[in-house]
Amino acid sequence: MKKKVVLIFGYNDYALEIAKNIRDTYENILIYSLNEEFDRAKNKTDFEVRGFDLSDRWDDIAEYVDFKNSIAFCVLEDSAQNIFLTISLRSLFSDLNIIALSNNKDTANKLQMAGANKVIPLVQTTAEIISEMMEKPIVKEVFHTILFEGGALKITQIEMNGTNPYLGHEIFELDWNIKYGIIPLSVIQEDEKNEFIYASKIKHNRVKEGDIFIIVGYERDIQEFEKVLGRRDDVNWRNWSR
């Protein structure tokens, strides 16, 4: 039987950090180490480590991985090898969700061209956070808490159901912050493009069934809001670029 698996390619600190952070969410985590490093890597961690090379022999993966619901992280430290790995996986498994790590803008573009669903631009993200620490320390602190720390304040995605009373209302009229204590940040409508609530081009758009709102609020308020207006849509890959 095929399983929902997280495949991490590359045995290094990035791979171990990813594995540590997602072990509560995913039961099956496999770290693939390049064959030349495999002997050094296999007994050093609690996670299952397997060897691989960059040839196209992926039969064992194809046998047990449910590609639609699985994710592959490509975190090889050599950029060229990482791009080659991404293109190999994409050419064989079109449904697999691939997240790749890039060290610079050039590599990020190539990884996207090679078929990665999402690229983590390591240098840019690090720089973003450092500059935010300097210029907007409170914004950094609040976002860091919302995103990465298990505080009471949460950000989540809610899909509008067919019975909610706001259907047909203009987006800029929404008063959810007063009624439910939550603040909507952005919305994904039919065209599947993510738009901020405050963007002028959508302020007169009307709320429709199936719209996905990104909201910020306390967990208990979000639960109340969910009961009335929609259901939580925790994973959504639809708007990811390919």
């Binding site: 950090e17 983590i120 450092i130 939550i182 405050y198 890959w237």
Partner: protein, 521 residues
């Protein structure tokens, strides 16, 4: 020690420990000599204006009748100002009280009888040394036009022009550059002097007895030699005999060589010192900055951080010991110095006040060893300044903490956290990422509530966010160190609060302006 001597030494101790006296002396030192003192430039401009006025009046006097009050201003007022300046410079050039104290302590230590006369003689020697310095002589000569009645002394107004050099640092730099080639200039001067000396005597011998020759005296010969060797050749005094012309030919060739050598020495001195001059200028500019970030090490992350911070109101200074990386930083339009950020000497050379001028020191080398070293260096100079460092290997976290880093950023750990978000709440993550990066013109900003705004007793409900189409995400109360998400309408804004506002960048700016302008709600 005699009673009078003891009285003088006690007075010296009193002056030396008097705060008021030292403060005044420091003030005059800053105004007159300290290039880092921000108000010195105003004094310099004032003095330069006086000098130019003085010269302009001198020129006007040659052919025009100048009103008496202007002559009075030029002769007395300007001269008295220069005299006061001269006295102040003489005062701050050395400390009389310290000289007396040192002399007395030395004598006591060596078991000698303290002699007030010898002590004053030492003071006099030190002051005389200053008075005989080139700069002090110029200052003194610039005061001489005070004795206006002696017409010859009026010409000393021109010495005031030399005083201009005191107030222009670029000229001082030029002189210091040329002084590095002192030896070459002396050789050249000796060569030119010998040529002038020999040729003028030769021409005098060959031409003086010829009635048609304009060279009649040794002075004529000397004048001719100097005019010829300088390749100016006025033609008013020329050699008419064949022998004299032969000498002229040699002098002309020698003159061309002297000119060529002089040019090449000046050019080589300038080109050798060009980088140093630029560096000096950069340091001078840095010292004038009010607040800036220091980025230590210019590698990938540092480059990206600098690009992000470039839009900030604060400046960025890059320090790196690697010349290639510094060139890269300069190409990126940053102020960069090829100094080792891990060396105390580097910070001494720059001469900045880390507490007052530096907002944060960012240790962004992609090596924990280098970052720990730089942190320790900065901490050894200043305990207060905020230090942020990259961490490349989590096992070194404690070392960075121990060295005194305030905030650590571990990129590998960040990847793990991002991965978790991406597989759980990809769109939410994207939204925050977009907000952080000002995509689609929508941003999140911190608006500071200062005392003036808080005096208006503004409640959240009266902020008028909807009118400006911005959303108040929350309020950060600095006093309580707590973030109030989606605050209620009756929450009062207090001084020190920060509003976190989401919206279009332009609308947020308008909202900020409105908030700080409005007088009463």
């Amino acid at each position: 020690m005699g009673y009078f001597s003891r009285l003088i030494v006690d007075a010296a101790y009193f002056i030396s420990t008097s705060d008021a006296y030292q403060r005044k002396k420091r003030f005059f030192y800053n105004v007159l000599e300290n290039n880092r003192y921000s108000h010195k430039k105003y004094f310099d401009i004032f003095m330069m204006t006086l000098i130019l006025l003085s010269v302009a009046i001198l020129i006007a006097e040659v052919k025009h009748e100048v009103p008496l009050n202007i002559i009075f201003f030029n002769t007395y007022v300007i001269s008295i100002i220069f005299f006061i300046e001269y006295i102040l410079r003489l005062w701050i050039s050395s400390s009389v009280s310290e000289t007396l104290i040192n002399k007395s302590e030395n004598d006591i230590m060596l078991g000698r009888e303290f002699s007030l006369l010898r002590a004053f003689f030492k003071v006099f020697k030190i002051k005389l040394h200053y008075m005989l310095s080139f700069r002090a002589m110029i200052d003194l000569l610039a005061i001489l036009p005070f004795f206006h009645e002696l017409r010859l002394l009026r010409i000393f107004v021109l010495f005031r022009v030399f005083k201009l050099f005191r107030y222009t640092t670029s000229f001082q730099i030029f002189v210091s550059v040329l002084s590095t080639k002192k030896f070459e200039f002396i050789i050249l001067l000796m060569f030119a002097s010998i040529v002038i000396f020999v040729s003028s005597i030769l021409v005098y011998i060959m031409e003086a007895n010829n009635p048609t020759s304009p060279v009649n005296t040794l002075f004529d010969a000397l004048y001719w030699a100097i005019v010829t060797i300088s390749t100016v050749g006025y033609g008013d005094v020329t050699a008419v005999t064949t022998q004299g012309r032969v000498v002229a030919m040699f002098v002309i060739v020698a003159g061309i060589s002297v000119l060529a050598f002089t040019t090449s020495i000046v050019v080589s001195a300038l080109s050798e010192k060009l980088d140093e001059i630029r560096e000096m200028k950069t340091i001078e500019d840095i010292r004038k900055l009010k607040q800036f970030y220091i980025i230590c090490g210019y590698e990938n992350v540092a480059e990206a951080v600098a690009k992000k911070l470039k839009n900030s109101t604060k400046n960025i200074i890059v320090l790196d010991e690697d010349e290639r990386r510094i060139e890269h930083a300069k190409r990126d339009g940053l102020v960069a110095l090829n100094y080792d950020p891990g060396s105390v000497e580097s910070y001494k050379k720059i001469g900045i006040d880390l507490s007052a001028q530096v907002k944060s020191v960012l240790c962004l080398r992609e090596s924990d060893v280098e970052n720990v070293y730089t942190t320790l260096t900065v901490r050894s100079i200043n305990k207060e300044v905020n230090i942020v460092s990259l961490l490349m290997d989590d096992t070194n976290r404690n070392k960075l903490n121990f060295a005194g880093v305030n905030e650590i950023l571990y990129p590998k750990g960040l990847v793990g956290m991002i991965a978790k978000e991406l597989i759980g709440r990809p769109v939410a993550f994207e939204v925050i990422h977009a907000l952080r990066n000002d995509y689609y013109g929508v941003n999140v900003e911190e608006i500071f509530i200062d005392e003036r705004v808080s005096q208006n007793s503004i409640y959240v409900g009266k902020l008028g966010c909807a009118r400006f189409r911005v959303v108040l995400l929350g309020i950060y109360k600095k006093e309580k160190k707590r973030f109030f998400f989606n605050p209620l309408d009756d929450m009062l804004l207090e001084s020190g609060d920060y509003l976190l506002v989401v919206g279009n960048v332009v609308f947020i700016k308008d909202f900020d302006k409105y908030l700080h302008k409005k007088s009463v709600v």
